[in-house]
Subunit: 322 residues, 2 copies
DNA sequence: TTGAAAGCGCTAACAG
DNA sequence: CTGTTAGCGCTTTCAA
């Protein structure tokens, strides 16, 4: 029997007689044969891999996106391959180069901001590229996400409507985090329209966590005791802030209102529900994977879509009318 | 100039004159050339990929392991490629097959329990295989982790020593989660030696989170109001339980002591520090990656090591002498 | 339904 | 320091 016949059986392609097929399968199993996709890919110029490039996996944000991607890719024959950038543009460039050298069937990459060489690689990749999470900008090919500017604006509107006036922002140092920056910009834009200026701000570096939220909250309230609202760049530090306030007998949301961002499900179950905004992470993953899978299946070189999901505001118990 | 010279420049191999090198690099950059690793790998039978197979990334446990792996692999020229099994043995088998078909330079896989075909694939892979997280069992090649039986035993000892007697276990349904099961076994073993039987138990399915911890705690305390200790299978549900107790005026650790597992840093900052046990996740990732990298660099087909790290008990504020 | 030949884009090995 | 030749393990294409 020729290797050709074996190849046909293993790929379920072309016509092979039952008898031959069974013999091949039996032999493959007995020998523990695992086909060499490297050779297969080279010969067919088809690779069943989708490159997924995200900043990190400790952020609580990305696991859900990945879940969506995995789920959607099930059954398409495509496999996600994940790479991490640690929020470093140069690292992103390296990872992208590395992944493209494997000629994946598509690329899903977080954010719209990339170095010039990275953008060049993406537009020359010859496969569908979906930029995710953010829609405030121009994608190389397709994008799926929410507008973080809008998210910031909507939260600001809700806060102003409830009568809060002495408002502080607490979040990451932003040069690296474009999405947090855009939320901040949208946020201050609406405040400005209402004649309000950010009363104080507090930034942190390193991992977020409840403890970090406590520290920051203590620091900012000590510095500006008259604050009546704290807007956090994520739920984790927001939850820390909430716990700090409760521990210290600070009336929430009467004396101080609080809001976070992301709608982290893990945190349901806090003493109060933190006001937050759902970033639609899972849906972003699902949709991005669908775009890639469809385009790849049709042999298109681009996905070409712009999908903006609406961030969903939830007021919880910490942003109430007083 | 021959393609061979180009290849040499791009791989930094062999002697090439400065002038030629510069010309090649310039041309590569200008053309946006990205080498085809598929062809390269086929020709050289060298693949700079390390397969990393873990259950999921929403577990809070695995992100840290991945961080350790990524970190250690930096600079070795090796790249981790991650696959998810969702705790399903059949899925693990598929993912493993898929990954091995790319002929990675090494495999890092969570757990010691695999289907027979999966074990066969691992032992025939011809590359170093490191099984991580758990050391209670026989590895195919190498293993790095903690003994979950021992972790359960040590926690039980600490609890018994503090005089607790009416002890409940709260955790996942265990058929899928071997490590939780082993902790439970170690735990009950020590209790039995002290003449104590588990007073109650409560299991859950689906994602863990604070809310789940609250529900379970309420349910178990309602059913068995005389409990004096709750041992949770992870910190997240433990934290939920803690918040429940505090909200309901239950004296912790006076009336009820609490302990979790994992030492999730994110949760530092709760009103009380939960007793827990550090599973040494980051170090496991670091060590596993080091084993693979070393073996791969030396061209060995096996890593052959058994590294058991000691789980570190921290008593926090919820497992105090009363 | 099966087989034979050619070649995917690169690198090992050797020659110049 | 640079070039040539062969071939990695498959799939495509065409012939039988």
């Amino acid at each position: 029997m020729s290797e050709m016949t074996v190849s046909r059986v293993l790929r379920n392609r072309g016509d092979v007689s039952e008898a031959t097929r069974d013999r091949v399968l039996a032999a493959a199993k007995r020998l523990g044969y695992v086909p060499n996709r490297i050779a297969g890919a080279l010969a067919s110029s088809r690779v069943n891999l989708v490159a997924v490039i995200i900043p990190s996996v400790s952020n609580l944000v990305f696991p859900e996106v990945l879940t969506g991607i995995s789920e959607q890719l099930q059954g398409t024959g495509l496999q996600p391959v994940i790479g991490f950038t640690n929020y470093l543009p140069e690292r992103e460039e390296e990872v992208l180069y590395e992944m493209l050298s494997w000629r994946p069937s598509g690329v899903i990459i977080a954010g719209l901001e990339h170095t010039a060489p990275a953008r060049a690689m993406l537009s020359n990749a010859g496969v569908p590229v979906v930029e995710i999470m953010d829609t405030d900008g121009e994608p190389v090919d397709a994008m799926v996400g929410i507008s973080h500017r809008r998210a910031g604006r909507e939260m600001a509107r809700a806060i102003v409507e409830q009568g809060y006036r002495r408002i502080a922002f607490l979040g990451t140092k932003m040069p690296l985090d474009h999405r947090a920056r855009k939320r901040f910009e949208g946020f201050t834009e609406i405040l400005a329209k209402a004649g309000i200026e950010i009363a104080d701000r507090e930034f942190y570096e390193g991992g977020s966590g409840l403890a970090k939220g406590r520290q920051m909250t203590e620091a900012v309230l000590r510095r500006s005791p008259d604050l009546d609202f704290l807007y956090y760049s994520n739920d984790m530090i927001g939850a820390g802030g909430l716990l700090y306030c409760l521990d210290n007998g600070i009336d929430v949301p009467g004396k101080v209102g609080l809001a976070g961002f992301n709608n982290v499900e893990l945190l349901d179950g806090l003493p109060m529900r933190l006001a937050t905004m759902d970033a639609r992470r899972r849906e972003i993953g699902l949709k991005a994977a669908e775009l890639v899978a469809t385009a790849a299946a049709e042999g298109r070189e681009r996905a070409e879509a712009r999908i903006e999901l609406a961030p969903a505001l939830s007021l919880g118990d910490t942003l109430l009318r007083r």
